[in-house]
């Protein structure tokens, strides 16, 4: 009985922590969705692009870890700058759907650029954190939990605290929330939209880099990272597209649910339900709570 409980705990905690990896990817989407009400289809490509550049700096140029990370983060700021200037500004008055299509195109451009610059082979990314159970926890709590999962959890927690403080207490955060509510009114009182867009896309780029590092360390830095974006979709539907806490909680739910279902119900379906269970959950949310758990309800005065 105790063993079964322990096993369940292990599955649950492992799932929750793995879920934070989804949360990290989803965070990038939320940032951009908040400011421009657009689902950024290029987010997956940004993850791939940023972490591949990070690896490239380290492995091809022998730049030390920290410096390479800073360079990659700066590169993502440049990508944000170019995106604002070359994609968003010309589409300033275009409909949200047009911007959505543009992000799909942007995704292809980033994928292509990344592979042109750094090659197509799978790279190994060693963060110095192993993807194996932490001995101390295994000995004392009898739970086998990966060190990488724990790191991802901590990183996600730090990111959410940082972003929360940024949004709530800084001037630029106030500007961003104002733009998210009503871009026209924001520009009428002198909030420069282009600065806000630049900030948001750069922040999303850096978040993509962090998410990419975590996933790259687990699965190798490879083209398949682009498809990670798909896993973020159910996370966003459950958490709400415009909520940062929602992205975190949504990720935790998806992570936990898919692992628990896989272990306990999976065998009845012949396994591998991890792949589709989150989408089923997402469909239920779409039916009964389309704004997600934490999404902003559209407030209407009656």
């Amino acid at each position: 009985m105790v063993d079964e409980l322990l096993f369940f705990m292990e599955v649950l905690v492992g799932g929750l922590l793995a879920g934070t990896m989804y949360s990290l990817v989803a965070l990038g989407f939320v940032l951009i969705f908040k400011a421009s009400a657009t689902f950024n289809f290029s987010q997956g490509a940004m993850v791939f692009f940023s972490v591949l550049a990070f690896c490239g700096f380290m492995q091809d140029f022998n730049i030390p870890f920290v410096l390479a990370f800073i360079l990659a983060a700066l590169l993502m700021v440049v990508v944000g700058l170019c995106t604002e200037r070359l994609v968003l500004r010309p589409l300033m008055n275009a409909s949200e759907d047009t911007v959505l299509m543009a992000t799909i195109g942007l995704g292809y451009v980033l994928e292509g650029l990344a592979q042109a610059a750094w090659g197509v082979e799978v790279r190994r990314l060693d963060l110095g954190i192993g993807d194996f159970p932490v001995p101390w926890i295994a000995d004392n709590l009898k739970l086998f939990i990966s060190a990488l999962d724990i790191t991802a959890g901590l990183v996600a927690a730090l990111m959410i605290i940082g972003l929360f403080l940024l949004f709530k207490y800084t001037k630029i955060g106030l500007g961003l929330r104002a733009v998210a509510d009503d871009a026209g009114a924001a520009s009428s009182i002198g909030i420069p939209l282009k600065h806000i867009m630049l900030l948001v896309w750069s922040a999303a780029g850096v978040v993509a880099l962090v998410a990419g590092c975590m996933w790259g360390a687990r699965a190798g830095v490879q083209f398949a990272l682009v498809d990670l974006a798909l896993k973020a979709l159910p996370v966003l539907i459950i958490g709400g597209f415009s909520s940062i806490p929602g992205a975190i909680i949504g990720g935790l739910i998806i992570g936990a649910v898919e692992k628990v279902l896989e272990v306990y119900i999976g065998p009845f379906f012949g396994g591998a339900i991890e792949g589709w269970a989150p989408y089923v959950l997402a469909i239920f949310f779409l039916l009964y709570r389309p704004e997600g758990l934490f999404g902003e309800k559209i407030i209407r005065r009656v």
């Binding site: 008055n93 001037k171 106030l174 929330r177 520009s187 009428s188 009182i189 407030i299 005065r301």
Partner: protein, 271 residues
């Protein structure tokens, strides 16, 4: 930047098109003297909002363009300005329909108006207190989410937010739309107070002709993108045509200035 003329705003014969095709303004000229309140009157679709947006340069975001004529603000052409630059120059527009940031608190809404200014926390609080002296009601509600305040309060938020940018000139687009008469009076009192105490020049687009003229110094009446009549507020209030067409004190069945002009030209011919 020195401007010795008496007008803070000088619009000369502007023509505005949307999407390069739709002609919204044919020929509008108007002047706003420094420190005065000028009313821009007309029915729906007459071109009031378009005129204001041409001035605040917000037309571009709606695919509109001034295709002819010129606009001078504080002695300089506004040709190449962006909306945020205009705010920096002291010209702020309060958009039609209030447009508060619904998910922000009342106070956050107002503070957001100071975005273009470099102010310390202390300065902002000082400015806030000053603003609250005009909008006493908002101080009580400052922690509420703006979306849950009443229509009148939202209008006050929008004006207070604009005042935080320390404007020399305010463009108010239908500030009393959908408000009860008592609130209309309250809003106009505040506007008048801001004008006299803060010295803000005001260009006011309104459908509510009577109240607007009573609170203005000068008025322009536009119809289908043209200025039909202008004069001091007093003279317009006493003008027979204005009384008939805009104040509902009707004698004949004429509906707008075009009918009046047509009739007058017919009379001329028959004479």
């Amino acid at each position: 930047m020195s401007n010795n003329s008496a007008n803070i705003l000088d619009i000369k014969n502007i023509e505005v098109r949307y999407d390069n095709v739709i002609l919204a303004l044919h020929d509008v000229s108007l002047k706003v003297p420094k420190g005065k309140v000028v009313a821009l009157l007309g029915a729906n679709g007459a071109g009031k909002s378009t005129t204001l947006k041409a001035v605040s340069t917000m037309l571009a975001s709606e695919r509109g363009k001034v295709t002819n004529g010129s606009i001078e603000y504080d002695g300089n052409s506004i040709d190449k300005q962006t909306p945020s630059q205009m705010v920096g120059l002291g010209m702020v527009q309060v958009l039609e329909g209030r447009r508060c940031f619904g998910h922000l608190t009342v106070e956050e809404n107002i503070i957001s108006g100071a975005y273009s200014r470099k102010l310390s926390k202390g300065d902002i609080n000082q400015e806030l207190e000053k603003i609250y002296t005009y909008f006493i009601r908002l101080k009580e509600r400052r922690k509420s989410q703006a979306a849950f305040t009443s229509g009148g309060e939202q209008q006050m938020i929008a004006v207070a937010r604009a005042m935080m940018a320390k404007p020399k000139m305010l463009l108010l687009d239908e500030p009393t739309m959908g408000l009860a008469p008592q609130l209309v009076a309250e809003i106009f009192n505040i506007v008048k107070e801001l004008n006299t105490k803060e010295g803000v020049s005001i260009l006011l687009a309104e459908q509510n002709t009577n109240v607007a003229l009573k609170n203005s110094d000068y008025g322009y009446i536009i119809e289908t993108g043209r200025v039909m009549l202008d004069g001091t507020a007093e003279s317009l209030l006493n003008d027979d045509k204005v009384k008939e067409l805009y104040l509902g004190i009707s004698k004949k069945g004429r509906k707008n200035f075009r009918d009046v002009l047509k009739e007058e030209s017919l009379n001329k011919k028959s004479n």
